[in-house]
């Protein structure tokens, strides 16, 4: 893994812009909302103000917290306040060992395709696709295959002969019965091979040939650029199904316009609004979108993705106090899934409510196509975040390389993954 630190610019710090009292404006809006009997919706505004350095995370969180209590006392809670950006919890994230399997095993009820084995200090999981055997339609004829159990058992034996029970965890909404078998206990680090359904799988020793580029965003670029950056994060977050917060982008835009950072009639604001429409599934004239979002729109309806999987097994250094492990990608005709784990640096400061800048996953291939990842499955807990990011379109089948961007408002890591997959059934 090649790691390049692209910038030595100090991490962003909140400052104060003269002429606009952000904390006061936030309070004033909350007071107006309370008086009007409207839900007090400060989160997105506060986060926007923090993103451009007009308010410190601590002050923003204090204001939001106070008025949240005031709203609750009146039954005027922001109904969507829990839809905040997703920042992984703090945890120790160890480098993963990811082994591609590419084996298909025939069983009485169908086939099991073993994609890869992901092993960390905390967990070992085998990513699979289950395919039930086709059954004759004539009910009077003997069945050619056994019915597939609802949760087929899988037992793993390691190189010491120890048997490990597993638990199946299906991927939601997948028509190919994809999922993971998670071992009851992680495999020891020195495990060289395992046996699954009598198939021996040699575990990989090192990560694949990927490079990681860490960039700390320049905090001195001016509020307009910071605002645009934040709006991009807001847009990217809209691809996460549970973050269908229609008001998030307009609220952030309105905050920037109110602060005099963006012109409400500017091209940037119009393009952001058009991109938000696109992400909400509406049709948008390509001319209204920036080139990036035009690319997203162009690939949106594509169904030409390969049916393939590739292990990555890379872990980034810390950027904005985050560390992300990219485990593997799975391609299908209609989308691309990224299996990842992420964690904030233990001991790093986390300001509740608004201080956590959003963490998003996007990608670009070497043919210039843009992909927006939404968190379709994730668990954020004491061991950090573990999840699946599903990109909005399949990867161009002719692409040879994928740059996966992991971004916050303050920094990003780009993991360059050479695509070397071949179709698998």
């Amino acid at each position: 893994v090649l790691v390049v630190h692209a910038s030595s610019v100090p991490v962003w710090e909140a400052g104060h812009v003269t002429g606009y009292d952000a904390e006061w404006q936030l309070c004033r809006r909350a007071e107006d909302d309370l008086l009007a009997g409207r839900p007090v919706m400060l989160h997105e505004r506060a986060r926007a103000l923090v993103a451009v350095g007009l308010l410190t995370p601590e002050r923003a969180a204090a204001v939001v917290g106070r008025y949240r209590r005031a709203g609750q006392l009146r039954g005027l809670e922001d109904p969507r306040e829990h839809h905040r950006g997703y920042r992984p919890f703090a945890a120790t994230l160890s480098p993963p060992r990811v082994t591609e399997c590419g084996q298909t095993i025939e069983l009485p009820w169908g086939t099991v395709t073993l994609h890869y084995v992901i092993s960390t200090r905390e967990q070992t999981a085998i990513t699979v696709r289950l395919t039930p055997a086709s059954r004759p339609r004539d009910p009077h004829r003997p069945q050619a295959a056994s019915p597939m159990p609802s949760e087929p058992n899988l037992t793993v034996t390691d190189d010491r002969g120890v048997r490990h029970a597993t638990e199946y965890s299906p991927s939601p909404g997948d028509d190919h019965w994809s999922g993971r078998y998670v071992l009851a206990a992680p495999l020891p680090a020195h495990t060289k091979w395992i046996t699954v359904f009598d198939q021996r799988i040699e575990l990989a020793a090192e990560a694949d040939d990927v490079s990681v580029l860490i960039e700390k965003f320049d905090p001195d670029v001016g509020p307009a650029e910071l605002a645009e950056r934040h709006l991009n994060r807001c847009l990217e977050a809209l691809s996460t199904p549970s973050y269908r917060y229609q008001e998030a982008v307009p609220l952030a835009v309105d905050t920037f316009v109110d602060a005099g950072i963006l012109d409400g009639n500017s091209e940037v604001v119009k393009q952001v609004a058009a991109a938000a429409q696109l992400l909400h599934g509406e049709s948008v004239a390509p001319g209204e979108l920036s080139p990036r979002w035009q690319s997203v729109q162009a690939r949106r309806a594509a169904r030409d993705g390969r049916l393939a999987a590739q292990a990555i097994g890379a872990i980034t250094p810390y950027f904005d106090d985050l560390r992300v492990a990219l485990l593997a990608v799975r391609s299908s005709p209609s989308d691309l899934e990224l299996d990842f784990a992420a964690a904030a640096q233990p001991g790093s400061e986390s300001i509740p409510l608004v201080g956590d800048s959003m963490f998003t996953i996007t990608a670009t291939d070497d043919r210039g196509n843009e992909y927006i990842g939404g968190f379709t499955e994730f668990n954020n807990g004491a061991e950090g975040m573990r999840g699946l990011a599903t990109f909005n379109a399949p990867v161009d089948p002719h692409a040879a390389r994928l740059d996966i961007r992991l971004a916050t408002d303050r920094a990003q890591a780009t993991v360059r993954v050479p695509l070397r997959w071949e179709d698998s059934s």
Binding site: L35, L73, R74
Partner: protein, 310 residues
């Protein structure tokens, strides 16, 4: 207008242990009238005895007597959405989780008497100050008032407390759900405390300026909406000590300059609008006479109005 003009004495009936007690507010002081030896009772509670709801209320009051969160959470006036009251039969609705709620059971005036109940074991922290010393937090002088009753001094030079102790979340909400007009008097207490801090150029004031301005803005807007259905945006300037209160209209906006003490002198006594005029300031001239500076709905020149009690 200073002190507690416009706020009549009130008392809150409380079921304290097996007895009906009263917590009395008068002239800026909150008194647990039936606890002549409050310090001893606090000590007993600290040693494991059942808490005394009257003293819990008194201590909670003291903890938040200069807590600006009170002004954020409390109602701004009749124009605002009323607070949601938990419970079915009482203006005081004890919460369900925090220590303070564990012991406060209040019988509403004229309402059905409720049996005392313990929601959680003990009242850790609510009636005991930091370090576990009963009454050792905030206004610590509990001395007899007219021969009996524990009291919290709310007037005079306050020894301030700064926000809730850890684990006291929700305590303000419960205080604001108390009946008998106590929430309004708690708001007045906090306002009075901060007027004094401002007047004495306390070092905490600059950091709290936005909160003070917001507290003033919310209450002023509630007044303006009820007064003249103001729809124009309002720009509020927090006037410093000695600066003149003013209101004017310019470029479709209403410019208002008021000191925070407007809340104490005008809003708390209920003088914000008088005879259809907005009151900018009020001062007592003695002899039961008050002189108000007022403006009409046209926001024309201020005119003096005098109120005399015969």
């Amino acid at each position: 207008v200073t002190g507690w003009d416009g706020l009549a004495p009130t008392e809150l009936p409380i079921r304290c242990g097996q007895q009906d007690h009263r917590v009395v507010w008068a002239g800026g002081e909150l008194i647990a009238a039936d606890h002549p030896d409050a310090d001893r009772e606090r000590a007993l509670t600290a040693l494991g005895a059942d808490p005394f709801p009257c003293l819990d209320l008194l201590d909670a009051w003291n903890r938040h007597a200069d807590d600006l969160d009170v002004l954020v959470l409390a109602n701004r006036g009749a124009a605002e959405v009323p607070l949601r009251l938990d419970g079915s039969d009482s203006a005081w609705a004890a919460g369900s989780s925090a220590a303070y709620s564990s012991s406060l059971v209040v019988r509403p005036r004229g309402g059905r008497r409720r049996a005392p109940r313990r929601l959680m074991g003990g009242s850790s922290g609510a009636s005991v100050g930091p370090g576990g010393q009963g009454g050792g937090f905030g206004w610590t002088s509990y001395s007899p008032l007219s021969g009996s009753g524990a009291r919290a001094f709310v007037g005079g030079p306050p020894r301030m407390v700064f926000g809730p102790e850890p684990g006291q979340d929700g305590e303000i909400e419960r205080l604001l759900r108390a009946g008998s007009g106590l929430p309004e008097r708690l708001v007045a207490t906090v306002i009075a405390a901060w007027v004094e801090l401002i007047d004495t150029f306390d070092v905490r004031v600059p950091d709290a300026e936005t909160e003070l301005r917001a507290a003033l803005y919310g209450r002023l807007m509630a007044v303006l909406q009820g007064w003249a259905n103001v729809s124009a945006p309002v720009d509020l300037t927090l006037a410093g000590p000695g600066q003149v209160s003013a209101v004017s209209r310019a470029d479709g906006r209403i410019q208002v300059a008021l000191p925070f003490s407007w809340l104490r002198d005008v809003w708390v006594p209920g003088l914000a609008t008088v005879f259809g005029r907005l009151c900018l300031s009020a001062e007592s001239t003695g002899d039961d006479q008050w002189r108000l500076q007022t403006v009409g709905p046209d926001l024309g020149p201020a005119r003096t109005m005098t109120i005399t009690l015969d």
